[in-house]
């Protein structure tokens, strides 16, 4: 694998994570339990779509086949996506959405923190811009996890159920492969396993305050970040997200 091949894969992973999760969170628009959360979630979704433009835009440049961020977002099929499975899972209830957001925000904040010192200056610049948004996302989702986890009996039960359901998807974010090895050697991107202790510290502190218990199971669902096997949910999401470009190719706003 050449360095550019690995770089392209890495940029797809970053861009597809924010694209797919951004789309998922946007599904709440107009449906949130309260107006204030509705606006906040829409802001978060838009931040992630904005980050996607940067990551996938750079991915298209690195690939060198003239594909734009829009081409990559709207004209690939499920098996070409490189997002972790966590990001494509259905929203579930509000608590499950916020738990998924918190787990991703914690990962993303640690990842972006590392990438700000990447030897690739384009990546370092994107990471610096995105990390300000992600710091806020993490603060907000973390506070909500604490508020609901350490809330009523019902909200606590829902948050514990959300954590039990989502925890087996956490491991994939730290499951490095040959792509990561090539980039780690060049100082472009980290070996994701290296990020785990910092993630565990952030998540451990919040979950303890939220009175929630991390499931005691080492089982890990994977297959998203290498595209080997996505969940059935991704295809359904893409039919919603891509239908306009599929039905009216080249349509512009």
């Amino acid at each position: 694998m050449t360095k550019d091949d690995a770089l392209f894969q890495f940029l797809l992973r970053m861009g597809d994570n924010t694209l797919i999760l951004g789309h998922r969170v946007s599904e709440w628009c107009g449906h949130s339990p309260v107006l204030e959360e509705d606006i906040a979630l829409a802001n978060t979704a838009l931040d992630m779509i904005g980050q996607t433009q940067l990551w996938l835009g750079l991915a298209g440049e690195v690939e060198g086949n003239g594909r734009s961020a829009d081409d990559l977002a709207f004209l690939r099929d499920a098996w070409d996506f490189r997002n972790v499975l966590l990001t494509e899972l259905p929203n579930g209830d509000f608590g499950q959405t916020l738990m998924r957001q918190f787990l991703f925000d914690a990962f993303q904040s640690v990842m972006l923190n590392w990438l700000q010192d990447s030897s690739n200056t384009r990546i370092a610049e994107i990471a610096e811009k995105a990390s300000k948004e992600v710091s806020y996302h993490l603060e907000r989702s973390g506070d909500t996890v604490i508020g609901l986890g350490d809330g009523t009996e019902e909200s606590h039960a829902k948050m514990q159920a959300a954590l039990d359901y989502l925890w087996p998807y956490v491991g994939e974010m730290f499951d490095g492969d040959a792509v990561d090895a090539v980039l780690a050697k060049e100082g472009i991107a980290p070996d994701p396993a290296e990020l785990r202790p910092e993630f565990d510290a952030i998540v451990g502190a919040v979950l303890a305050e939220a009175t929630l218990t991390v499931p005691d199971s080492p089982f890990v669902h994977k297959g998203g970040r290498d595209g080997r096997m996505h969940t059935e949910h991704l295809g359904h999401l893409l039919t919603q997200m891509q239908w306009l470009q599929r039905a009216y190719p080249g349509a512009t706003w």
């Binding site: 107006l35 204030e36 907000r140 506070d143 508020g147």
Partner: protein, 94 residues
Amino acid sequence: MKHEWPLWEIFIRGQHGMSHRHVGSLHAPDAEMAIKNARDVYTRRNEGVSIWVVQAADITASSPSDKGPLYEPSESKVYRHPTFFDIPEDVGHM
């Protein structure tokens, strides 16, 4: 109604050196979340550099029915406006 979050009044400072101005209100479970919600609801278009939140229940307001005794007496006291003084030209615009 007891399950409703309390109402908060939101004040935003638009630029350094300006005063905080009332921009609206929102619901939130506590002061910290009120600031976060205000950030998301009222500063999306780069409107602010500082946010104050005050629980609406903590604001004491004058009563509209008191407007006679409170405000009308000042209507006839034109001498309270500093328009009767000759300003020397050297002072310029005040």
